[in-house]
Amino acid sequence: MTYSNDQKALIMLSTLEGYNLRRKRFESVDRPCELYDDYTVADNMIAKMEKSGVKVITIIDEDYPESLKEIYDPPYTLYYQGDKSLLCSKDLLAVVGTRRVSAYGKNIMQNFAPAFIRSGFKIISGLARGVDSIGHKISLENNSPTVAVVANGLDICYPPENADMQRRIAQTGLVISEYPMGAKPLQFHFPERNRIISALSQGVFIPEAGDRSGSLITADYAIEQGRELFVVLGSIFSQQSVGCNKKIRELQAIITLTPEDVIDVLGKTVRKNDAKIIQLDFASQAIIDILKDGALHFDEILQKSSMNIADLSGILTQLEILGLIRKLQGNNFEIIPLI
C-alpha cells in the first residue's frame, strides 16, 4: 500500500505526544504535507506497520468515519487491524465500566450483552480489564464482530492477559488506536481514547462504574457528543456502583432496567431468546423451587431437598447444562434470571 505525502505527514504528526500540540501543528498549515520535508520517519513507521499487518486511516481520507469528524477533537490518524468497515457501522454500542467488576456487574453483563448482540448491536469497548473484557468476550463467544479501541500502539498489548483476545478481535472485528506503533499505554492516553469509543457508538451503556472509573469520562463525552447514555442503578452501598448512581443524578442518564430499554431508544427491534419449553422431572423442579429465593450453597440445597449428595450433584449439573441455573464461586448455585 502506498501513502501520499499528506498521509505520511499525519503519520509523523501522530508521534507527537499531546493532542493540543498535534492540533496546533495541524491547524498551522493548509495541507499536512507542508509540515515536513523529510519523510524517512514515516517510511520506517510504515515498514514496521506492514510487518505487523497494521493499516492506517487519516482524517483526510474518504473512509474516515463521519461520526468522528463531528466531534471537537477528532484523531488525525487511526491505526487499525481488522475490518475497517466497522468504523462506519451504525450498530455500534459502547459497553464500558469498572475494571473491578463485582458479581452484580458480571450478572448484568451476562444478561444484557447477549440481548444487545441478538438485536443486532456490535459492542465497542476499550479492551480494559473487567466490564470491557467481558463485553468483548461475550461478543467473540456469540460470533459478533466487536471493536476494541486501545490506548497504545497496536504492536503492544495492554493489559497483557488480553493479548489473545486482542488477536482474536483483529481477526473477526476491529482493533483501533490513534497512537503510532511503539506508543506505550500512558496514563493520559486512556481518557483520550475514551472520546473515540463514545464518538463511534450510537450510545454508551455502563453496567457498573466506581467513583473514579474511567468509564465516567466516556459518559461525559457521550453527553458532550450527543450520544445516548444508559446506566444501570446499583446499590448505594456498593463501591462499584457509586459512579453509575452519580451519573444518573448529574447527567440524567437513562436508567436501564432491561436490555429492551437500550434497544428501544436506539431504534432496534427486540429479539427475544428463543424460549424453550423444558419439561422437568419432579426432583429437578424441586431444586428450582428451592433456589427461587436466591443463591444457595450446595450444602444448603442438600439440607432443604433431603436428597443424597450423589443425586443432587447430578441434578445440579443437568440443570446447569439446560441453562436454568449456574454455579457461582464458592460452590453456590442460583437460577439464571430470564430478562
Binding site: 450444602d299 442438600l302 439440607q303 449428595i309 450423589a310 443425586d311 447430578g314 464461586q329 464458592g330 453456590n332
Partner: protein
Amino acid sequence: MLAKTKSYALNGVEGYEVAIEVDLNAGLPAYDTVGLADTAIKESKERVRSAIKNSLFTYPIRKITINLAPADTKKEGSHFDLAIALGILIANEEIESDSYKDYIILGELSLDGSINSIRGVMPLIISAIQNGHSKFIIPSKNAKEASYISGIEVYAFDKLAQVVDFLTGKNEVQPLKTSEFVSIANSNKYSVDFSEVKGQYVAKRALEIAVAGGHNVLMIGPPGAGKTMMAKCVPTIMPDMTFEEAIEVTKIHSVAGILDDSVGIVVNRPFRTPHHTATVPALMGGGANARPGEISLAHNGVLFLDEMPEYQRRTLETLRQPLEDGTAVVSRAKRTLEYPARFMLVASMNPCPCGNLGSKTQQCKCTPSEIHRYISKLSGPLLDRIDLQIEVDSISYDDFRSSVPNESSEAVKSRVEKARAIQRKRYAGSKTKTNDEMTNAQVKTYCALDKTGESLLKNAFTKLNLTARASTRVLKVARTIADLDASENILSKHVAEAIQYRSLDRKYWD
C-alpha cells in the same frame, strides 16, 4: 592378627555389605581408618577406645589399621562402631571364636560401652536378607523395628561386654521373637475423626471419592472453612496399610531417623505437612547425605500442601514427576538415589489472596490481576494431576436440623475399602492399582460411556465452559463414583456428579 567383621551400609533405602578389616601392626600406637569413611566413622576412634576400656577389655597399644571394603564407596554413619570394636578385640585375641563370622553387626557405641540405637535398621536388615544373610547383632533399642521381620535370627544387646560374652559362648542369648503386625495394625490411633467435621457434606463426599480412587484433591476456600481439619481426616478413611506397605514406609522413616523406636514400625498412614517455605531438597529429598524428602516420608499416605500457591513455583513443579511415576529421584554429586514416593496429594488454597472471593458475607478486596497472578501460580501440568477440585465455604450449619448424618471415619472407610476391592479385581495383573493410575488405554476400556453419558459430557463441555483437558479427569472420577455405587458401568449420573468436582476448570476464575 587380622580380623574381618561384617556390617552393612545404606545407599538410599537399599543396603550393601561392608567388610571391616582390622589389622594390628608393629609401630608407634596409632589408629587409621581407610575406605572413604566420613567424619562420624573417623571419630569412632574415641568411642571405640573408651568403650573397650570401660568394658574392662584391653585396648591394644599397637598401630591399628581399619579398612572399610569396598574401599571406593563413601560410607557414613556411626553404626560401624560395634563392628570395629569387635574387630579390634578379635585381632587382639580377646575373642577366640569364629562364630562372629556369621553375623552382620550393627550398632553405635557409647563411651561407657553401651550400645546406642541407629538409623535404618529395617532397610539394612531387609537388604541383607536379600543378599543371603540371616543372623544379625543389633542394638536392643532397635529391637522392636527388627522384630517385624520373620525367618531370621536377630540378637539385640545393650552392652559391648554382652556381645563379647555371647560370641565367646559364655552367655546364651535367645534370638528376638517375631512381633505380630496385625495386632498393632488394628489399634487405630488417629486423633481426629470425620464425624467431628460439622457440615461440609459435599467436601466430605469429594474426599471419600478421592480416597476411594486414589485421586489427588485440591480444596479451595476462605480461611477458616475447615480445609486443614478435613485434610487431617483423610488418612482416617484410607484403607489400613498392609504389612508390605507398612514395611515400605518404615524403611523410609527409619532411614530418615524419625521412626518411633517404641513401636518399631509405622502403622498409621503418614500425614506430612511441609511448610510453604520448604525448599526443593526438603520436599524431594537431598542434602549432603541424600536423606528422603517430605514426599517420600508421605509414601503410602497423604502429603498435605496448605496454601498451595504460597509455595515457590519451582518447588511445586518438582512434584510433577513423582506424581506421575511414584518415585523421587535424588541426584547428588557422587550418586543418584531413588526413594519411593507414592502419596495422595491433598492441597488447599484460598480463592484469592484476601480469601473472600465468592464469599456471601465478605467483600473481596483483590484486583483482577492479583487474583490472576495468584491462581496462575499453579501451572496447568500440575493441576492436570489433581483430579478433584472442590470449593469449601464457611457457611453456618447451626440452623440446620441435620438430615444428613455425620458419619464416622469407620463408616466411610468401609465404603472406600469396598470400592478399592472392586478396583483391585479390575486391574489384577496390571501395574495400575487405583483409578487414578489408569493409563489412557485403560481409560478407553473401563470408562466407556453409554449414549446419554456421552452426550451429557459433550454438553457439559460446550455449555459449562469446561476446558478440554478436564475430559479424562472427569472420566476417571466418574469411574470411582461408579465403583462406590458398585455399578459395573459408568452411568450418566456418575458423570454428572464428577463434573461438579472440577471447580478450577470453570472459567469464572477469569
